[in-house]
Symmetry: C2
């Protein structure tokens, strides 16, 4: 019943109106893994780092029962580095530095033990790399969830459509859903995108929450209103990690299960943004998630 996560493991440096992070642990797969590990204990992670990547960070993942055999360490290589600045409106950010480093040559060959994973989360990466990962899986996972971004819509359209066709869940943000479909209405956008192949579409709307679409059902999970957002980096990945961690734990991919997974993903994301980087995800336990879930239920549930 394993969950395989593929994506970046990186160094980040973040500035927000609240302060500066310094050089910290980042990367989509890191956030996804830490978030998923709150729910589920059989997680495998595939990525690439340089030999400048500290052993303590690998240990931090291993302590959360994440298998790191699939994190390739490139001798003499430097780890992917991203730096960005958030504005007063935290939905706006400026990328200051992107150094691909070892990520530029990333060609994942999965350890044999990874290939039978029952659930697969493809973090945002070049579409052809996402495809190569899917092709190495045997048997095909029960649920493949894919993140991507507008950059690949601009630069690798055909490759992107090719992978989208192969996955079960596509998780993208509002603007990406509009660009991918050419439709402003998210309701119409969802029908066009589901016609491209996936059974489910998740539209991530940041502080406005997330929407799950299937061919004939829709479910909205609002985001929790927060007093202070320190660092939105990785919010979408924490959401995806909480989502897939809950699905893997449930061992079921019905719409009802995915609804609950969307709620858990929203709750985990609400923790993630409270401190810089992954520090909040490192601190919390499933007990904290369940306590906040009780607040979440009050926030959205009503009787007619």
């Amino acid at each position: 019943m394993s969950l395989l996560i593929i994506g970046t493991v990186a160094f980040d440096e973040v500035e927000s109106p609240v302060g500066k992070s310094g050089r910290i642990l980042g990367g989509a797969a890191t956030y996804i893994g830490l978030a998923a590990s709150l729910f589920y204990g059989d997680i495998r992670l595939a990525s690439v780092v340089g030999d400048d990547f500290p052993g303590k960070y690998l240990k931090l993942l291993q302590d959360r029962k994440i298998d790191t055999e699939g994190i390739k360490v490139v001798p003499g290589g430097k780890t992917f580095f991203w730096s960005g600045r958030y504005h007063a409106n935290m939905n706006l950010r400026t990328t200051l530095v992107t150094e691909l480093n070892v990520l530029a040559g990333f060609d994942p060959v999965l350890p044999a033990s990874y290939r039978n994973s029952r659930y697969l989360m493809l973090g945002n990466l070049t579409p052809c790399i996402q495809k190569k990962v899917i092709q190495q899986m045997s048997p095909r996972p029960d649920l493949i969830c894919m993140d991507t971004m507008n950059f690949w819509m601009d630069t690798a359209w055909d490759d992107l459509l090719d992978v989208i066709k192969m996955v079960d869940v596509l998780a993208i943000n509002e603007e990406e859903a509009r660009q991918l479909s050419g439709e402003y209405s998210l309701s119409r956008a969802s029908r066009k995108i589901l016609a491209m192949g996936p059974r489910f579409l998740i539209v991530k709307k940041g502080e406005h929450g997330a929407i799950l679409f299937s061919e004939d059902e829709v479910f909205i999970a609002p985001a929790m209103p927060l007093d202070e957002v320190m660092d939105p980096t990785g919010a979408g990945d924490s959401f995806a990690g909480g989502f897939m961690g809950y699905v893997a734990k449930s061992g079921d991919t019905s719409f009802e299960t995915l609804k609950r997974a969307l709620v858990y993903g929203s709750v985990v994301a609400s923790f993630s943004v409270e401190k810089f980087g992954t520090s909040r995800l490192q601190e919390i336990s499933i007990g904290d998630v369940k306590t906040r879930l009780a607040d979440y239920v009050k926030l959205v549930c009503f009787s007619i």
Copy 2:
């Protein structure tokens, strides 16, 4: 148990990417009244129009059991006129024409029969007019809900704070809540605004829904995803009308009732934007509202 509504009754002319409306019935009080009348049969409306205002429009309101004695007709006067254009992103609009006309001299003197109304909805107007209306009420209504806009924050700050202090519910949009409080986080903004006097704050987020805050509770009602928005004009007023109509019908102002009212307001607003002007509100019945409510429940409710 009457509901008194005060606000503009107007002519509108709207352009959206979907088409042009021509000159149609508009105004905040019109939308609020039609929406509230879906729930409740004892509604009084106070406003001002010119003698160019067609009798058929008054009859349209009366046919919905709305008392129009308080709509003053100014002989020789012209009715308030607004014209605007919506962009592909319907959250953006350009005002093309605003002709205040008879609204410029509006000094409402409520009919004696209106003054004991149990519920009061103050549509967006000059704060000092909103205050004059409150002062004519006797006894004080059980619940006073107020709409306003950033224009009054820029031009009549002290008057505005003076009225805000006197009401129970303030219903404003996201940007207005941020401007009024000086806080970006809506959670923090709500605490500052509730400290100004109201017991409840409603933050209207358009296509992202609405949030209800009290001192110690929060509730979110997402907006329904729609295939096509033809005309967002009056969506906030339709929402407020559905909200107050439901409260008036319930005869109760507990947080639980206001939560349900928020949901009904959202459902009514989702109809309002489907056609130009008030035409959709004119067509629908409480039966249509209840049918869509069942879809709404599926959209947001889940079991853990």
